[in-house]
Subunit: 407 residues, 4 copies
């Protein structure tokens, strides 16, 4: 089966992660940067039949004013994370992508996000139904215009306030009816995008902790339409380390008494989070994995604080207090200093490549083999990063073998 052109549709296309992914994709095509940071470029996966960087076309939604390139430039001006020479050389490509961007949806995104939306957009009064229709039209038009075989929709927008998914009807039929009743339907924008993506038979990747496609009714819809989804919340730093280190404590029978993690960062994500009612939920998600890995829950503390001077450079300090033989307390501390967008963006590109491959391989529903990319992997009980990565290897070995047989 020949590879064909695939769309990458970024929700929050002008944000730090999206613009870095766009800059990266353009730079990879022009061979201006190396493949460091890209999981899908590991020699380990070279027989998995993944698409080439040149096979992708980028579009997306965003609620902000300003050109895509202006937003992308910040990775240099604010964060010294992208070389100005590279920026200059990919400028025309970025400007071409900018033409594929469409205005986003503000339904139930919360005040913190609304605050930085384009003024014109804030005047639009969408119902859930009309928003979904608008998104579907944008996707369909993108597909038609660029003759795309498939589209992977990726949510990299700011985190929404946590919605209570339990209150939603569990079946799609019932939920569908609510979409015309704005006052009764509390579905946030991230879920409306997911619905549109599923109805358009796209793959949907939720790189954020927002609700997205996770409610049961939406999972039903995805299966029904033969769509794929993966999520949620990209695992880029502290939680990556937790899911790597906690199995070591478990394997050595070292009892973790307390695990304290303090995260400081100064990007927009941090700013939105600082004001957001779901900061607590986000923090909790960073701890959730400890109980299944350790088999018990130590005292934990996670703080996420907005420190402006750090920009996109996230610093995490973790203090792990554990008990060994004779019950004697010992300590592991670590400090992780990384540029958040540079850690996240390549994973977005990886998820697109693996999702597209899964579409070609005929997978539908939740792509559990992508668990290693997420803080809270959907439909997956494995929280040990090493074992999650082995799931990815196994799946790729499988499709690689099948592809070979098919030749």
């Amino acid at each position: 089966m020949a590879k064909s052109r695939t769309g990458i549709w970024l929700i929050g296309a002008k944000g730090g992660v999206a613009t870095t992914a766009i800059l990266g994709l353009c730079a990879l095509r022009k061979k201006l940067i190396e493949s460091a940071g890209l999981v899908s470029s590991l020699p380990r996966f070279e027989n998995a039949g993944l698409a080439d960087w040149s096979d992708f076309v980028v579009g997306g939604h965003d609620i902000r004013a300003g050109s895509l390139f202006e937003h992308a430039e910040r990775m240099h001006t604010d964060n010294k994370a992208v070389d100005p020479d590279v920026l200059a050389r990919v400028k025309p490509d970025v400007e071409r992508i900018d033409k594929n961007l469409r205005p986003g949806v503000l339904v139930n995104v919360g005040e913190a996000i609304e605050e930085f939306a384009d003024k014109k957009l804030r005047r639009v009064r969408d119902t859930p139904r009309s928003a979904i229709e608008r998104i579907r039209q944008d996707l369909a038009e993108f597909r038609k215009q660029h003759k795309l075989a498939h589209i992977v929709v990726v949510n990299v927008a700011s985190t929404e306030p946590s919605a209570d998914a339990d209150e939603l009807p569990p079946r799609w039929k019932k939920l569908d009816k609510l979409l015309d009743k704005p006052k009764k339907c509390r579905l946030p924008a991230s879920s409306l995008y997911a619905i549109a993506a599923f109805e358009e038979e796209c793959s949907y990747v939720n790189f954020t902790p927002s609700v997205g496609g996770s409610p049961p009714a939406l999972r039903e819809l995805a299966l029904e339409r033969g769509a794929r989804q993966a999520g949620f919340d990209g695992k880029t730093g502290e939680t990556l380390l937790k899911s790597t280190l906690a199995p070591m404590f478990a394997a050595r029978h070292l009892e973790v008494m307390s695990w304290v993690g303090h995260n400081i960062f100064g990007n927009l994500d941090g700013k939105v989070l600082a004001q957001s009612p779901n900061k607590k939920a986000k923090a909790a998600a960073k701890d959730r994995l400890l109980r299944p890995i350790l088999g018990y829950m130590p005292q934990t503390l996670v703080s996420l604080e907005y420190i402006e001077s750090l920009g996109d450079w996230k610093t995490a300090w973790d203090h792990i207090h554990f008990r060994g033989f004779f019950g004697t307390p010992m300590t592991l501390q670590f400090t992780w200093q990384g540029c958040d967008s540079l850690l996240a963006a390549p994973l977005v590109l990886d998820l697109v490549r693996f999702s597209e491959r899964a579409w070609r391989a005929g997978e539908i529903g939740t792509l559990t083999f992508l668990a290693s990319f997420f803080k809270t992997p959907l439909d997956c009980e494995e929280n040990d990063f090493g074992r999650q990565f082995q799931m990815l290897e196994a799946w790729c070995d499988g499709v690689g073998a099948k592809a070979y047989v098919g030749k």
Copy 2:
């Protein structure tokens, strides 16, 4: 097959690791401490048919003067690592074990070790052959006196200067003949103990970086006699973390540019090492695993320094400088503060339990499924701690299943 009494023979029985293992074993039997730190006590292994703590009898060799209890007390007085109440309650048990100790061997151990040997012992002039004979007699007598079905010999003596194993004849027959020629035979004490253990059909575990049973001629001997060995160099701190974290960098395609590790500690091991010509070799061993895990060798630096005030509390600071997307440098630092003997001693007890189980299961030669316990696992290419641990799980599941079938 019924479990029967098993001997634990500790080489370096008065050292920190050995005395802590002894105190721990006695305390476990009296239920004075919990099982934290013991891998073999994980629920995961409860169907593996491991021996009970009450099944073991302890003996050993040491070159130092002073009673076993005096040495054991230091874990409280110097390191505040063992509760004085526990010490008091196991005192009679420790004193009973002391009667099973025999004077050790000083052949080719190097000046640093000789320095703290009992004066009387320093006057003994052993040839390699006579030393082996003496050790064999001690083991045979121990077996007979306590009616032991099996003995596991564990080397927890101070690190010897590195010997050039390449100069040794590769076949046992030739090496055997050299044992009568002290001047031509550079085999260090650790190897003489290994030979004696193999000839007595014991299991031999090398918890140190000394040569021990690793030369090809000795592996041949082990197989010939149906003995088992495992080694070498217990993985308790910094290297444990390296073998846990390096796979994460590899899986995420984050390029490690440099990995710097500084270790400071104030125990006898540190003192011997500080003067030892093989400090460099020890340091190198702590880095060796990076190339196979990462697929390339970053710049590395390992220092091991004796800082008296720290006693047995080892502190490691590691600085990992890596490159992500767009080649941008980022940093992970960690500080590990642990009591060395408390980290090592339970692993010694684990290794004894797993080795004894392997003996009952009919295994001979190198026990590669024990790789997760060692810095440089013999006959094993796997360096990823998580995958090494899966080897242990798989082996235990296997013997567990067989045992179940056999019932």
Copy 3:
């Protein structure tokens, strides 16, 4: 003027800091411990004419049940911070001191503190006036019974909820009248103790962030009665480092952009604070000094979190993000791991010695030369620890010189 017996009256005498100070005083007298940690024992101050350890008699108030020794033992059982041998040897002395303890006062101390008070005590209904009277009687009786020339009252009780001192009448006469009107008088217990101390012409040291003797009306009272006070909030860890490091950044013109400090600890103080409405105030006090030292206010963040497993071992992680030449950001991080009571207790003894000396030297009012001991030194603008210490040196040189002349 001959030295004579001096009383140390500890408010919160059964708490961690007080019991450690008591154990320390007893151990110093019996020469069981060295003088490390005691500022007043520095050779620098040996000519200042300070009282000997044998010159002091200890008494105090507390609201808890349980014997003093039981509370003191925790420094070993919970925190491994005091040797059990030392504990055993000073037990009779501690029991003798226990006889000097009296039940404390619960007026306006807040729920968190009331919760661990002795049940009997919780039934007592004190008015501010009656509480003061009771305290005065206890002090007077203590003085008489032990023939004391002077008493130094030290507040080492748990932190009270912050009271709005601004609402109090600024003159003593007016405030005095409110003492009979419990509903109109919001003075917390710490201030009632201070009033009693001033009226009894004692010295009063406030080692906590509670209001104590700081309201203007109480300062007036202190001066009127010729009493002395010093405070407030002992500087033992993170703030000590802040007042040491911030002057370095200022002197080097390195612009501090943000200073983040995370404090984790598991002692009672931490537990009370975790529930307390004045946690925020406490945190703010730890930052206040940055503006006067730096000349501007960087973004700051201070968190204080109760992590049970740490016991009295406080760990602070500070991340200082600063800008040097060309505006380039750089970072200093530190981790401070100390036993809180062991850091605080010797300062309590120092403050008693210096206060007693000030009484002999005829000082009245606020003892500003003690600024180096406090987070928020009363009546003192100097926040640089080094310069604060020079104030102590200068004062001691002064009384030393006078004492010499007087001979």
Copy 4:
């Protein structure tokens, strides 16, 4: 007395510190950067009558090929420490300064330094005398051409191998005679530059640990000629922190048991040091201050290691193990991450400004009031950074007051 043009003569003018100082001076004049990092720009010193940035003319010696701007660019290309826009805007100024550079001297600089010298220069055969003469001519010509009232010579060249200053004759007359006997005179280049500077009545600042003007015979010469000197070894990172933190431990009577410092960095200085026989001496200098500050010598360890990936970004990890009350051990750790040239360069400009002011104020000999800038301040016993800084304040207040009176 009116300010007039002053020369800054940089030895090692193409090195990281010098080029950063040059870029900084040019950028300050054009108001492209702010004054952060410059001690002399603190409001505290605005009445000290210091020269303006526009009053200086730059020249210097270097042994390397390549244009000054090429070398300066590395601060952006290698270290991301200087903005490329700023670089572009000061390029013409830097090129003008390049014309004032002259080939340096290679007498006794050691192999590591010779290795990167311009090939042509390596063929020159200087005697000490001829080298001094050449330097003097360069300085005289510089003074004449730019009509300079005064020249401040600053040594920022790579560290030379340590020379045994004790073997030199203590009097200038005798040493002077040796200058014609290359085989008997082991004076390194840094001292020849110092001699030339003194004979030309310049101010000489030694920002490196090289011998420079420190031998007694050279101090005699400096006084005789009415020259000034200051040194040695700029205090920019770990030692700055040591001289700030050690006084805190001393003041609190906390007994430092061990102080371990590991420094990793990847600049040329690190490379030269890695090969240099005086690495040990450099390391020792970083510890020397502990004894005078603490009053005793703890166990110390200092390592300086070349880690290429770090470039000019120096990371220091210090582990301070101290004993408080009851002898209980506690720990302070810090990590300092700074760009070495950005920390050092502004201090070079400060030292020039203060030295020029001292010349105008009529000072001769060692400028001890500059102690706070150096690891090993010449002729000064004060090692506490805070107190050293007070010496600077006092001197400036003094000249400020005099200047005021003179108006």
